[in-house]
Amino acid sequence: MIWADEETLPRHEMEALQLKKLKETVNYIYSNVGLYQSKMDAAGVNPKDIQSLDDLRKLPFTYKADFRDNYPTGLFAVEKKDIVRFHASSGTTGKPTMVGYTAKDLGNWLNNVARVACMGGATSKDVAQIAFGYGTFTGALGLHGGLEKLGASVIPMSSGNTNKQIMFMKDLGTTLLVATPSYALHLGEEIKSRGMDPEKDLNLRIGLFGGEGMTEAMREEMRKVWGEDFFCTQNYGMSELCGPGVAGECEALVGMHINEDWFIPEIIDPVTMEVLPPGEKGELVITCLNKEALPLVRYRTGDLTRLFYEPCSCGRTTVRMENITGRADDMLVIRGVNVFPTQIEEVLFDIPEIGPHYEILVERVNHLDVMTISVELVDDRLLDSYKLLSELGDRIKNGLKAQLGLATKIKLVAPQSLQRFEGKAKRVTDLRKDGI
């Protein structure tokens, strides 16, 4: 089933719709958001210069740093009284990336999520268990609202608490799971280890996965764990753009359809910043259309992908983006949470007993991400007792937990034992090769 007519528009009609909305959007940001006005003035672009979709590239980029510099609501185009919902995700440093929605934005967002759920095979008959963490992250409440809009029965489980997940899954006959793909694999293994057969003893038939990329190896593994008939798709979004609902895979599994009437994608070379032709790999740049609270133009997502414009066998004509193959920056996705090494750095720099050098090791243990941070001990006073040493480890862990919302492992090492770098440091070792 296809949720919205816009998903099947002929290309020229889609482009006409996009251009109309783009003009409105550019007029809107120029008169309502100071940052856009000053950036456009500096670039010598006026809203009336936008006469074709190609004119989009005349507009300046927007960066994640713009959120930090204008924290909390400096990029908003409406007053706080018009906001009906705030969400936040991790920023590159201590300040989160704050986003907001008007009532109209919220309706559009959840409608886009309903489209994505529909692409993944969800129907009003599904019992949907949401195993994303609730709170300020957009993932849980986004899928929650989108699936409700679709008419599914939603179970707001939140993340973790495996025993309860399994109990609800069994007792309510869950048919659809919303989770990170790695948590879905972990949950399947846990169910097996309790002597149950996920295929025979449970009704799960669909996975709507997001928060982190899913490799084909993981999809293959998913069938081994949940059964041959288990069908899973991944979807794409980020809180700055709205949250989930930007794009999703359909039954053809040939990339994620972008909801193009709301999001215009471009692919650029992250170094030269030139727009690349269709099919070439580069950084995804998204312009949100007709967003009221937080309009966003030419946003540098940092995600590396390719775009394919050929119509799909599913009947949709919207452009498809390939699975994210990497990042243009050094962002890590740990258990579905975005982590920037600069966030970790900020915590470590405030702890005088350790040195400025650090290394991050990311592994996947039992399908779950484990992040170990090695730091050098420099303060000899801690050698007075082992308690002081282990308290230091706890203090670092607690600081990181508060900053990242994630549990980490800390490894104290001797000074001078971590590698030194001339020029750009390579502090991250990611051993999660194919995601399993």
Partner: protein, 139 residues
Amino acid sequence: MIRQVSIFVENRPGSLREITQVLADAKINIRAFAAVDTPEFGILRTIVDEPQAAKECLTSKGFVVRVQEVIGVELVDEEGNLDTMLRILSEENVNINYIYSFVIRQGRAPIMVFQPDNGEKAEAILRANNITMIEEKDL
């Protein structure tokens, strides 16, 4: 009081030897050496003949080193001697964070080294009970 040299040590093959090698090269004599098992890292406690020189040469090789004062008590090798000392301290509510012993003293009485939570109080108690504490010159 005697000075103890504590060194941060990672739990991996060779880590203790790296320390003894530095000390041997600097011709520093190790009198006592104690490390308990710890999951990833620990603290090596040593008594050496030249604590300040040991700290300097180990620090120059990148080790984290702490010199601190601990109590050394001479205990004649007879049944019940350790028990007596520990009883006296426990009766006065002095907590011992760790304790280890000198093994080889060329014919003289063995020494127990320990770090109490209150060093001055522990010293006073031991003195009052005629338990012999040793100074560095006696080592």
